[in-house]
């Protein structure tokens, strides 16, 4: 190691462990949610239960998306403590850009948006925005009439 700082190898092990356990945790949460949804859909329990299961899956997905963010935060803190201010600044910049992405997404959020929200206009997708999830060939997601179709609800509709 010619130029590596003494704490460098330590940082690599820290990140490796973090990514390893983070992946396991997020996968386990998604697996739990999907497993519960599978069981619930077998026994045709009320829709609410499956909505709850899908929420668990969403949390797992969010964990996956947050994992790299945490990785950048950890790198920022470690570089700061090593007084490597240039790299710390770079890590902070990366973090800012990612968080800017979250903000952009939130601003373009389709919750309560009219079907032709600006983010979608150029996409020239199928007429009904809510029907976009899956095309007519796979009927499972489309048994609901368009106005009641909710993305999360789709799990509750049994074939």
């Amino acid at each position: 190691m010619n130029r590596a700082t003494p704490g460098s190898a330590q940082l690599e092990w820290l990140l490796a462990g973090m990514l390893h356990y983070g992946t396991s945790l997020a996968s386990a949460v998604i697996g739990l949610g999907l497993g519960l949804a599978l069981i619930d859909s077998r026994f045709s329990v009320p829709k609410l239960a499956i909505l709850r299961d899908m929420r668990i899956v969403s949390i797992g997905i969010a964990l996956f998306i947050l994992l790299p963010v945490v990785r950048v935060i950890v790198m920022f803190i470690v570089y700061l403590r090593q007084r490597d201010y240039r790299l710390a600044a770079i890590a902070l910049l990366v973090l800012t850009i990612i968080l800017l992405g979250f903000t952009v997404g939130l601003a373009g959020s389709r919750h309560g948006d009219p079907p032709t929200s600006p983010a979608r206009l150029g996409a020239e997708t199928v007429p009904s925005q809510t029907m976009r999830a899956i095309s007519p060939e796979s009927n499972s997601f489309l048994t609901a009439p368009p106005h009641t179709f909710d993305r999360q609800e789709s799990f509750s509709r049994q074939s």
Partner: protein
């Protein structure tokens, strides 16, 4: 929903990710075409779901490279400024680009990947032979070394032409966000022709960067509601399991015939995507 479709998504992602992992590629390159063509999932939904699986694959496979000191994390975080900026630009374009263009672009990337797969990669010429460190590289102390098992010692290398590498990385981030792939296909030229890294270092570093790049776009898609949970959940889980399996098989099956199979699959997907691009147009015309 019928659990059959969830199983199908899980199985397809597992297969795609395992096959991708065997040749050190991201599964996203396969997942999007399969979901869009065979699963009849809307391409935007397929891309958003694939972005999550790209994060999952990259995070789950990063640890061994890090522990083996192959990843240049200083270089990775520096290049990530460019890839995340690219991803952010991709997020802006995502909803604005017509669907048929997305199919075209995807077909082009598939063909490019097929071509890259045909030409076997080696250490780029001029790797670690340049005498003096370049200015930016020196300022950020990016030069490093990696352990080479065959020689039993560490090999020092230098990072060259950082600005050009950054520009290529911006493009890679943009494509990554737009198509929901890891876009290793664009990172490899950046790593080889611009930065001139040894192949082991560039594979490890590019894999390490993919999750942060994808997080830049996935965060936006998640907040915007583009990520459809019943699709993205099984796909993400299948990808992680597939990546773990793929890494196990890697040692045994990276021969020429597997490579050829991949090229055939990539080209056939590219043709399908092109047809889809035209098909959608024709359909639109008739509506």
């Amino acid at each position: 929903m019928d659990s059959g479709f969830a199983f199908w998504l899980f199985a397809v992602s597992l297969g795609a990710s395992a096959l991708g992992g065997m040749l050190g590629m991201a599964g996203g390159l396969f997942i999007v075409p399969i979901l869009a063509i065979f699963g009849h999932v809307d391409i935007h939904v397929a891309i958003a779901a694939s972005t999550v699986s790209v994060i999952a694959c990259s995070c789950s496979s990063a640890a061994p490279f890090l522990r083996g000191r192959l990843t240049n994390i200083r270089l990775a975080i520096t290049l990530e400024t460019a890839t995340t900026l690219g991803a952010l630009s991709g997020v802006f374009l995502f909803g604005l680009i017509p669907v048929s263009y997305l199919f075209f672009l995807f077909a082009a990337i598939l063909l490019l990947s097929a071509q890259q797969m045909m030409s076997r990669r080696g250490d780029p010429p001029g790797a670690s032979t340049v005498a003096d460190t370049e200015r930016w590289t020196a300022v950020l102390r990016l030069d490093s070394s990696y352990p080479e098992r065959a020689l039993g010692r560490d090999i020092a290398y230098r990072v060259q032409r950082l600005p050009m590498g950054m520009m290529l990385m911006f493009g890679a981030g943009l494509i990554s966000a737009l198509l929901g792939i890891g876009s290793g296909v664009l990172k490899i030229p950046a790593m080889d022709t611009a930065l001139r890294l040894p192949i082991k270092v560039s594979s490890a570093t590019s894999n390490f960067m993919i999750c942060v790049t994808a997080a830049g776009s996935a965060g936006a898609y998640f907040m915007r509601g583009d990520i459809v949970t019943p699709v993205a959940g099984p796909v993400a889980l299948g990808s992680v399991v597939g990546a773990v399996l793929g890494a196990r098989i890697l040692m045994r099956a990276s021969n020429a015939s597997v490579r050829l199979l991949f090229v055939v699959v990539l080209v056939s997907f590219a043709v399908q995507m092109l047809l889809q691009a035209f098909g959608i147009r024709l359909l639109r015309g008739s509506l």
